[in-house]
């Protein structure tokens, strides 16, 4: 974002090798922690890796978690491209859930699923984008820092949703603060349902068709950021707002567009969780996915391909972590949270720690790089 000491490294090192090194560093520290609490880290690693892929159920869960992380990862990445740090993915996804719920609660008595689900998704996107637009407006036109505002908006969203879920939408006679269950027409089909239609037997898992929407979002973000005028403007502002102004691009408009898109992407979590799985509004259904998105975007180098890969990695960590916590009760699932923090630390905060020694190492193998650097 700013003040980066740039050393010329080939692209494959930057986007391929670096994230792997960051991941290894994070795993090493996590391994150390596991060692401290008296568990063999190799065993823990084996249980976790196996737990994420051992059968179709495990893989489905991995992908189900990964779907959320693709949405939030893309949301963070799009804002990053505009030079904005959107920490508000959590709140945007949360409020998006309200949009989806309101739309479906209003209409699920009248419309078929083929209309209900898209309307729910659109409502979610409108609410998510709206929740992102206020901080965007305040940053663009009132000069308040988007990081602080999006943090504040996460908390405001949390309070709002507690109020809505426990006071406004709570179904009569329901003890839990949640809305009533949607009519089955509004359920986004599960993958195991579709498999059954095609004659395959699959165990029932939460994995649903929102994974297709995640794939579509990835393609859209790639096209939008790298192949459209708007994307160009976003990247220009992200690299240098002054140069962008000089080129006739309005940073204010770019901030609005980037954050709007960011919030709409984060709304995918509502599709996966609310329309796809819980079928009702629940408290805290985002469950930290907004923050995981930061780690995913950083490790995925803000590129859809990288984001998909690191989202699947984090999905595997979540699923494997659940297995690990089951097998070795000493280790709780919070290990995954710690792991996220470590990934953010190494691939984000300490990104420039690795560069010099990797550059030196690379130079030992490539004489031309040395000459280029000397020049």
């Amino acid at each position: 974002m700013s003040g980066a000491p740039q050393v010329a490294l080939p692209r494959w090192v930057d986007i391929g090798l670096m994230p792997v090194i960051n991941l290894v560093q994070a795993l090493l520290v996590a391994g150390l922690v596991v060692l401290v609490i008296g568990v063999n880290p190799i065993d823990a690693m084996r249980i976790m890796a196996w737990g994420a892929v051992y059968d179709s159920v495990a893989i489905s869960y991995t992908l189900y978690y990964a779907t959320d992380f693709v949405f939030t990862g893309l949301a963070v990445a799009v804002a990053f491209h505009a030079g904005l740090f959107n920490i508000g993915g959590e709140g945007q996804a949360y409020v998006a859930g309200l949009g989806a719920t309101l739309a479906i609660l209003l209409l699920d008595g009248y419309l078929p699923g083929i209309l209900l689900i898209p309307i729910g998704l659109i409502a979610a996107m409108v609410f998510g984008a709206g929740w992102a637009l206020v901080p965007a407006y305040l940053q663009a036109y009132r000069g308040s820092h988007i990081v602080i505002t999006t943090i504040m908006f996460n908390f405001i969203a949390a309070s709002l949703m507690v109020y809505v879920a426990s006071d406004l939408l709570r179904a009569p006679g329901d003890m839990l603060p949640s809305s009533r269950e949607f009519a089955p027409a509004a359920y986004l089909p599960h993958v195991h349902d579709l498999a059954a239609l095609l004659g395959f037997q699959m165990h029932s898992t939460p994995l649903n068709l929102s994974i297709l929407w995640a794939a579509a979002c990835c393609v859209f973000v790639w096209v939008f950021i790298w192949r459209t005028r708007w994307g160009y403007a976003i990247r220009a502002v992200g690299l240098s707002p002054k140069a962008a102004v000089y080129a006739g691009i309005s940073p204010k408009g770019v901030i609005m567009v980037a954050m709007c898109l960011s919030g709409a992407l984060a709304a995918g979590v509502a599709l996966n969780q609310i329309i796809g799985y819980h079928h009702r509004l629940l408290l805290d259904f985002v469950a930290g996915a907004g923050f995981t998105g930061i780690a995913v975007a950083l490790m995925g180098r803000n590129h859809p391909v990288g984001i998909v890969l690191s989202a699947i990695l984090f999905g595997a960590l979540y699923q494997g972590g659940a297995e690990l916590a089951f097998e070795i009760p000493t280790i709780t699932r919070d290990m995954i949270v710690a792991m996220q923090g470590l990934v953010i630390l190494f691939s984000g905060a300490l990104a420039y720690m690795n560069r010099p020694w990797i550059a030196r190492l690379y130079a030992m193998f490539d004489r031309r790089a040395v000459l280029a650097e000397a020049a």
Partner: protein
């Protein structure tokens, strides 16, 4: 009338208790941000400090050793933040997020591994905690009209760390505005190049600022775990680090206004708890969530410049690159 006064006194006392960790963290954030280093890791440092305090109090039984441990852990995490932001010129917000998330994960993992109980530490004995000073007993306080309860519950009757928290405010004010270090600290947050040109190390100044921040966050954590409560429970900071950050912004990066913002937010919290389920005449039931969200809303409104103007230190968030 007397009933109302007792209500007011108890709300004031609760305000001081909830404001204490906020004051520590707001001062911490102020030192860091005045030097130009964004600190959204207050929450994580406080949480880690709370965990360290509870662990040490369980193991050693000494509140003082626990406090020391909390401060050490807070400073260590601050040094990590410094390493990322000052030495390696990383993104300061990213580093803060990393610290918060790591603290949230590691405290539960370690706590569960060491004590079982799902990350909670065992209940602490009074000897291992900072207990409220007993100046007047409850009965004798009620005998003195008006001033009795005020003295017993608002001025007295707190634990040591409450007084320390409010004492840090004048100290912070004096350090910032009346010492050479403070002058330089403010300068480095406004324009590091000037400080560098004067032959003063930008990095060392900023490191000192983040170390102070870590230290104060350690105090805040110790207060939560071994003074206000009798042990650590997962995620016990519950967003207080962010409220403190909001209070600091609300106080425009200045010690006294930041303290008053902490008191205001503490008061809102104290009122919110008492208003739960209460039906006010003419208004009806006030949604407690609205009061709980008020600190954040107020901060957003202030930052947006609709009421006054909050100006951040000029060089906030920009890593300093010495010209070669």
């Amino acid at each position: 009338m007397e009933e109302l006064w007792l209500q007011a006194v108890s709300i004031l006392a609760a305000t001081l208790r909830t404001a204490t960790p906020l004051v520590f963290c707001a001062m911490a954030g102020m030192f860091s941000e005045r030097s130009g280093i964004i600190d959204i890791g207050l929450e994580g440092k406080m949480l880690a400090g709370a965990f360290a305090a509870a662990c040490l109090a369980v193991v050693t039984g000494s509140a003082w050793l626990a406090l020391l441990g909390a401060v050490l852990v807070g400073v260590l995490m601050a040094l990590l933040h410094g390493l990322a932001c000052i030495t390696y010129r990383g993104n300061q917000v990213v580093s803060g997020v990393a610290i918060n998330i790591m603290a949230a994960g590691l405290t539960v993992v370690l706590g569960n591994a060491w004590f079982g109980r799902g990350g909670q530490t065992p209940d602490l004995a009074p000897e291992a905690r900072f207990m409220p000073f007993k100046i007047l007993s409850r009965e004798s306080a009620y005998e003195i009209p008006i001033l009795g309860p005020l003295y017993a519950f608002v001025i007295g009757g707190h634990n040591l760390l409450v007084y320390v928290a409010f004492a840090t405010v004048p100290v912070a004010w004096w350090v910032l505005y009346h010492t050479r270090f403070g002058l330089r600290l403010r300068a480095v947050g406004e324009d590091p190049k000037v400080v560098d040109t004067a032959g003063i190390s930008v990095a060392w100044l900023r490191y000192r600022a983040v170390i102070i921040a870590g230290l104060l966050c350690g105090f805040a954590g110790a207060y939560l775990a071994i003074a206000q409560n009798a042990g650590f429970s997962p995620h016990m900071t519950a967003g207080r680090g962010f409220i403190a950050l909001a209070a600091m912004v609300f106080g425009k990066w200045r010690p006294w206004p930041a303290m008053f913002a902490c008191l205001l937010f503490g008061l809102l919290d104290a009122i919110a708890i008492r208003l739960q389920g209460v039906i006010l005449p003419g208004i009806g039931q006030v949604p407690v969530e609205a009061i709980q969200a008020l600190p954040y809303i107020l901060t957003v409104v202030l930052l947006a410049g609709f009421v006054g103007r909050a100006m951040a230190p000029h060089a906030l968030g920009q890593p300093y690159v010495k010209e070669r």
